[in-house]
Symmetry: C2
Subunit: 473 residues, 2 copies
């Protein structure tokens, strides 16, 4: 059984996670250290994510483009904060064929400078604005320790880059795209994410403000699952990008960028999965249904075919396991793969014109009339999606603590971890002290319901905001 | 007018081509020499190509995966023919962050070795076969001279990699995928391509046989527009990939790979476009219709909105030019962009309840009753697609010469070039001599209707096959 190869979640969460990635055939390791192979089942999840998000981006007027994957060193250095943030972790190409390059080039760790270099050429009038671009590509960051989907030398992602006439428009865009990520993660990934602003210490290199989607994993650790940056005019000024406004005056435009990555697959796994394997929310699962004929006999296979036709008609994706493995093996495999519903079709069931449905989230079994099967499946898919969301929300709430005393932060240093919701003065000294003393990093400053109810948890001086702290991936 | 910026096709074909790429907003150059930026309109053409091909690949059972973009030098060297073919043109990464790497790594020029490295791990039984994988990604080849879409240091492409139990199955797959490319290019790109086998001299490094799709550009030059390779067991043996067959005996599987790139966009342009700009076949055009209100007045805009609704209903893509530019400018721009049909809506037309349709391929104008508009559009889109195909076919036929005497090959060295269809003995010496004497390379050995009708055009000895020669991009 493949289930046996999965370490128990409560015994070793990190090992449990990598076991699931491997045993559910999501990834494989390669001879290229630090990079991963995304296998068909893992890639199908990513394709579903891409398809939903790409449609949403386009509905909002964004267009896809493709920039070079290489950045000459001199170009990377145009914006100083930016280059300092990235240089320690870029891969450098020094030779093309047998010749040493005159200037070394890096493999893009992100593409702000490439977009700005292009924007300078194509923006001249207010008529050219807004520019709403997006790019699906891979980026490289030379990480020392890597984990599938979470931290890899090569990352599949999407990066939006936009330019606007006014600060107001650019700020609106920043928050609009943050909302796209939030909605997507809530509705499709069943992840009850927190939304907020990063502190100055944690913001993106070169950004004025970074907004973030923070999810809590089952073990109480935080995962930053998407970000949206307001750049103001920093890059535009560094690249000397200007446009003539309606009054024929030269102005500098305002900029945003926003991105999400295959890391969301890691988030999915660590939010919903269990000791038996992957658990996928129906809205993002490549196959919503797994059909398992208990024996490969004609009357059973007839029902399988009948079911397939009905599911096709309803556009419900499925996979049939008609291998000659034992029923027990097939059930276990369906659990490992996290198909939301399993349909078992056996002799006994058929005598009563029934089939057995099993929910992956609760493992609840039910015998259903064959003719009611499709209606029950439609209902269950909604139920499972909601249940996964609510279960994760409850878990997050149970692991989020309103703390007021500095020493209480210690309580987060248990196996379950969790978030501390605290009052903060806004000074980086306190933020640093909390990190040094407890290993907790600031997650985000909530945008709503941000009511200070006490002094700074660290320095006891006047607090200016509420903020979440937690351990992070 | 943007038209004015396009060099005449008959004056300087190469300049005409790059002018169109630039003026139609398909690409831009970047600070990264040798790489191009694919702009939204160019990328939308690629997205259409991807969407059609990806669907077809999946219907045939292929699954998408993602391999690392880096290949350690030692891995690249496992198959000797392969590495010798690619080493002169790879980009080498030597530093990660501030540290020199222990082993340098190249950015993938193609991914055979990465797939084989993975296949070795996941193939153990005949039950694991066939493996039908595909990857959409970018590759890097450090070309010295580059041209948009045709030859670039970074290329967007797709690469299929499959493994099979038998030689027969692998050979079938090789030809099946060749047919997919052929059908796609004929049906969607309206390109009358030749299909055939490459000579040993021209085949892919490491392949036993390479099959090719060869298109003739308007100027008579050949473009290799997709390839499909039969590898036999070469890579499998080099990587020691084995499987247990049904009789429990260890066997070596048979392999294929096949790919096509954004080069097809270059092919599209050089096949159909003209002095006024791009001409896109309706089946691949991002916008099939351009709607141009001659004046931005209410009664005209009402008709625009009415038309938009009807086109939406029919799933016909369109773009509306409601800028305040002059009508003449808008017409010229629609021609530059190659929208298959332009609808002009003016005051005069409307008095008679008519609109004017203009075909991009022939520039023919017609006044149509508003109510007949959609039906006429549907008919015209088919007509245009067919006309472009037939026009290109006629051009190719008129520039293809059945030659029997060596000196006649000289006749191809004119501005129009073209293909020579000749008898060949099969020896590389003759192939090399033709290249040295005339700069003509072998294009392909046709798979059908390959009837020798004379001695080898070069050595006059017994010919074993017909073959096409031509200048190439």
């Amino acid at each position: 059984m493949n289930n046996d190869k999965i370490t128990k979640r409560d015994v070793d969460f990190a090992k449990w996670y990598t076991d699931i990635c491997k045993v559910a055939d999501l990834v494989d390791y390669s001879s290229m250290k630090g990079s991963m192979i995304i296998r068909p089942y893992g890639y199908a999840i990513w394709e579903n994510m891409v398809s939903v998000l790409d449609k949403k981006f386009k509905e909002l007027g964004h267009m896809n483009v493709q920039m070079p994957m290489f950045i000459p060193e001199s170009l990377l250095q145009v914006e100083k904060n930016h280059v300092n943030g990235f240089v320690p972790e870029v891969a450098w190409v020094t030779h093309g064929g047998e010749n040493e390059l005159e200037e070394r080039i890096c493999v893009r760790p992100t593409s702000e400078v490439l977009f700005c270099d292009h924007f300078k050429k194509i923006i001249s009038s207010y008529r050219d604005l807004p520019i709403l671009y997006n790019q699906w590509c891979t980026i490289v960051r030379w990480e020392k320790t890597t984990r599938p989907f979470l931290r890899s030398r090569e990352i599949l992602w999407q990066e939006g880059h936009t330019m606007h006439e006014t600060e107001e428009e650019a700020r609106e865009e920043t928050l609009r795209m943050l909302k796209v990520y939030e909605d997507f993660q809530r509705e499709y990934l069943a992840m009850p994410v927190l939304v907020g602003k990063k502190t100055d210490k944690e913001k993106f290199a070169g950004a004025e403000e970074t907004y973030t989607i923070e999810a809590m994993m089952y073990n109480g650790v935080a995962l930053q699952n998407a970000t949206s940056h307001y750049f103001g005019q920093g890059f535009a000024k560094a690249f000397d990008i200007k446009y003539l406004d309606k009054n024929n005056e030269l102005k500098t435009p305002y900029q945003t960028s926003w991105g999400c990555t295959t890391r969301m697959i890691g988030g999915l796994i660590m939010t919903h999965s269990d000791d038996l394997g992957l658990v996928l929310p129906p809205m993002i699962a490549p196959y919503k249904i797994s059909i398992i004929p208990i024996k490969l006999e004609d009357d059973i296979l007839d029902v399988v075919n009948e079911l397939k036709k009905k599911l096709d008609k309803e556009n419900i994706t499925y996979i049939v396991d008609d291998s000659n493995k034992s029923a027990g093996y097939k059930f276990a495999n369906a659990e490992v793969k996290g198909y939301p519903i399993r349909i078992e079709i056996g002799k006994k069931d058929l005598q009563d014109k029934k089939v057995t449905l099993v929910r992956r989230d609760t493992l609840e079994k039910m015998q259903i009339d064959i003719n009611d099967c499709i209606n029950m499946i439609k209902k269950l898919l909604i139920d499972i999606q909601n249940n996964l969301y609510n279960r994760a929300l409850k878990r997050r709430e149970s692991l989020t603590y309103n703390l007021y005393k500095y020493d209480e932060l210690k309580s987060l240093l248990t196996a379950d971890g969790g978030f501390a919701y605290v009052n903060w003065c806004g000074n980086v000294e306190c933020e640093n002290k909390i990190k040094d003393d407890f290993g907790l990093k600031s997650r985000c400053i909530p945008l709503d319901d941000n009511k200070v109810d006490g002094p700074c948890i660290c320095c006891n001086k006047k607090a200016t905001t509420k903020i979440y702290f937690g351990k992070q991936y």
